[in-house]
């Protein structure tokens, strides 16, 4: 693995010392005041992994409650808070931070820059996001909810009006939801702006836009999409706060206001949001699959075009979450078409990955295992998405467990799998040590089995008529066994994630030394030490193709002779 790593003049072999020479307060202080994109990236990722465990625990609690009909593990109010917080946490405190964390860490390295365009804004954005999350969780402690846990939000992560009006949600649950997300939303915006400015303005010499590594390209697309994705949510939440505290009537149906307009605003955020979450997963696959297939990505320009296309089209599909609210047949038809259309560039990407692997020499190290599973799972997720886009069928499947199965297939089956792959791929770069391969394989297979036991089964219980957001279900509706199966898969996934957490910690101290380039990869981050020095590169790199390290390793057959 390490034999092919080159000594590039632009890196200095630091062999970082493992001994902590500072005192604990000094060490802590360094991390708190850091503006180094690598450290902020790791802060984001650690923060996200922490909340992954918390929201995962909430999921396990939900599944214990639903394992049997009429169960008393969680009372109704507590259950409603748990599923609201599970969704809100996973999207805003796990998904967004971890993906922007990877962006933070990898993008400047990949483009040959020393840091992000605005390091202090970077730090500010992280701490603002972190604050938002902690504020959200403070809700568990605050207030005196009637029956359940504190006053955590209990209106669903989508917080439909008028349930969120003061009249129907008199406590502070909704306020925590709105204010925490407004705060963390600003943090997200800051990072998005930073990534855009970095990718556009800080590329090293020779790195034209069409020579950007696809990971960085997609992070640019994601960040641009984020600009117009998060702000509608912020706007809607500001309106909600105005309604709740200043007597506004934005969503006040008694005063002529509209409940439906909340749905429009929320899904104008909500749908592109899931593309904000999934495009980085594609970005990760775009790095891992070529390296482990030993081939360049097939159809780089098409991949760029498809990603940009997905971002644009995704802005026009939002009301496929609203097929049942009574829009006109013409409106429904439009959104059917736009939703089906977004499947086309998405499919193209799958085909391109397939073609990349075709004729390659595939090595199934742990990162590749996760990305291969991603391919199958994302295919299925996309196809169930097409099923859901068929509006009349949607009238049956909407708000049922089929939808939950579909979006968990995307969020877990595609995104979480790619995130695991990314961690196994870039952990050596960040820490200088390999994650244990054996534990990695145990993690993979257990998680794969648990995932499929849970989410394959879940499709069927939805088809059999079980709606979502219910703390219990009737025992004579034939859903009992299926729910039990779904729940048991959750336990298996929990075990797998625990193994992963152990791997992360154990390997930090005892993992195999990684060297610069353990995977024999081709993008610039592998041309510097592991971990990189704070300044990333001793000399600014100059590149001439999409795979600068390939050119160095294969001077007889460099990429620039083939790239158009």
């Amino acid at each position: 693995m390490g034999e092919n790593s080159l000594r590039l003049p632009s890196s200095i072999d630091l062999a970082p010392s493992r001994r902590f020479t500072e005192t604990f307060p000094e060490w802590l202080h360094e991390w708190v005041v850091t503006v180094d994109h690598k450290r902020l990236g790791m802060l984001y990722i650690v923060y996200a992994i922490f909340f992954l465990l918390v929201a995962g625990a909430q999921a396990i609690a939900i599944r214990i409650q639903l394992a049997f009909p009429g169960n008393h593990f969680l009372v109704a109010q507590a259950y409603n808070r748990f599923f609201t917080m599970h969704g809100t946490t996973m999207v805003f405190l796990v998904g967004m931070p971890i993906l922007f964390g990877f962006g933070n860490y990898v993008v400047p390295l990949q483009i040959g820059a020393r840091d992000m365009a605005y390091p202090r804004l970077n730090a500010f954005s992280f701490w603002l996001t972190a604050f938002g999350g902690l504020f959200l969780y403070y809700s568990f402690l605050g207030g005196g909810g009637l029956y359940g846990v504190g006053t955590a939000p209990d209106v669903g992560w989508w917080a439909y009006a008028p349930l969120t009006a003061k009249a129907f949600s008199p406590g502070h649950a909704t306020d925590y939801w709105a204010l925490a997300l407004i705060a963390s939303g600003f943090g997200t915006l800051g990072t998005a702006i930073n990534i855009i400015a970095t990718v556009i303005s800080m590329r090293c010499k020779g790195m034209t836009m069409m020579r950007l590594p696809l990971f960085s390209w997609l992070m640019l697309v994601v960040s641009s999409l984020t600009l117009i994705t998060i702000t509608p949510l912020t706007a809607a939440q500001i309106m909600l706060v105005i309604d709740r505290y200043l007597g506004g009537h934005f969503f006040d149906t008694q005063a002529g206001g509209s409940a439906v307009i909340w749905m429009h605003f929320f899904w104008i955020f909500g749908h592109p949001e899931v593309y904000v979450l999934v495009l980085p997963a594609f970005a990760i696959a775009n790095e891992v699959i070529p390296v482990f297939s030993r081939k360049a990505i097939f159809g780089y320009p098409a991949m760029v075009a498809a990603s940009v296309g997905i971002a644009f089209i995704s802005l026009s599909v939002w009301a496929h979450h609203m097929f049942t609210v009574g829009m006109t047949s013409v409106s429904n038809t439009f959104f059917v078409l736009s939703t089906m259309m977004v499947g086309i560039p998405t499919g193209i990407k799958i085909f391109n990955w397939l073609a990349t692997m075709w004729g390659g020499k595939i090595r199934f190290a742990t990162p590749m295992l996760f990305c291969t599973a991603f391919l199958y799972q994302f295919l299925i997720a996309g196809l169930t998405g097409i099923m859901l886009s068929v509006a009349p069928w949607n009238w049956q499947l909407h708000n049922s467990y089929f939808v939950i199965a579909h979006f968990h297939y995307v969020l877990v089956g595609a995104i979480v799998f790619c995130i695991f792959g990314a961690i196994y791929y870039w952990y050596p770069k960040a820490t200088g040590r390999m994650l244990d391969e054996k534990l990695g394989k145990w993690h993979f297979w257990l998680f794969l089995i648990g995932f499929h036991v849970t989410f394959d089964t879940m499709h069927f219980v939805g088809i059999l008529g079980m709606p979502r957001s219910i703390y219990t279900y009737q025992p004579d509706r034939g859903w009992n066994t299926l729910n039990l199966i779904v729940s048991s898969g959750g336990i298996i996934q929990g075990v797998a994630v625990l193994l992963f957490a152990i791997n992360l910690i154990w390997s930090y101290f005892y993992g195999q030394e990684a060297g610069n380039d353990p995977w024999d990869a081709w993008t610039l981050e592998w041309g510097t030490s592991s971990p990189p020095p704070p300044y990333n590169f001793a000399e600014d790199p100059v590149v001439r193709s999409r795979r600068p390290l390939w050119d160095l390793k294969h001077p007889e057959d460099p990429d620039w002779e083939y790239e158009s």
Binding site: A197, S201, A255, I261
Partner: protein, 198 residues
């Protein structure tokens, strides 16, 4: 890298990427535009839907003077930019000061208008849909004016303290982009609230 393994230096000495300040400000403007768009959509959607209370036609006076001031401030900040590009700090300070004054007049006009609406016409944010959407949209814009004025004032104070020169022209240009954006938003808000919505 060019020194190693025989990669010819295939790059012209000129390697230029867009300015990071302008790129970042452009991105911020896009985000803010999306924010304003949602408030504008809400405003337009609720035109004519209030169940009671004062209507726009009854209580809104078109703020012509304030608008002229605000839009002229785009002109004056442009003149200020030109001045600093030519290192004419005095001229810069002058035009920046005029810009700030014009912005303050605009805010004053808004304040007077709101005073009338609240105390004479009885239109508050909780009165009806018109009140809610009007104060939110115009208020959101006014907040951005305040932020912009604060930034301009800070630059103005630094200028008076003789700490601003030609080398800051680019950054001032970035700030000016924000100010132009605030003015452009006013054009939209003005059209929607005082022309279409009345």
């Amino acid at each position: 890298m060019s020194a190693a393994a025989g990669i010819p230096a295939a790059y012209p000495a000129e390697w230029r990427t867009p300015s990071r300040g302008r790129t970042a400000m452009f991105a911020l403007i896009i985000a803010e535009s999306a924010l304003f768009t949602i408030f504008v959509v809400a405003y337009v959607f609720y035109i004519g839907k209030s169940l009671s209370g004062p209507t726009p036609r009854q209580v809104l006076d078109v703020p012509v003077f304030a608008t002229i001031c605000l839009l002229s401030s785009s002109l004056t900040i442009g003149l200020a930019e030109r001045a600093i590009h030519r290192n004419r700090v005095g001229g810069f300070a002058l035009w920046l000061g005029v810009t700030i004054c014009l912005g303050l007049i605009f805010l004053g006009g808004t304040a007077i208008e709101w005073h009338k609406l609240i105390y004479q016409d009885g239109l508050k944010i909780y009165t009806n849909l018109f009140g809610t959407t009007y104060y939110s949209l115009v208020g959101l814009h006014a907040t951005h004016v305040v932020i912009g004025l604060t930034m301009l004032l800070i630059v103005f104070l630094f200028t008076l303290a003789r700490r601003v020169g030609e080398q800051h022209a680019e950054r001032i240009g970035v700030l000016a982009m924000y100010w132009h954006f605030v003015d452009a938003v006013w054009v939209v808000v003005f059209t929607v609230v005082y022309i279409i919505g009345r």
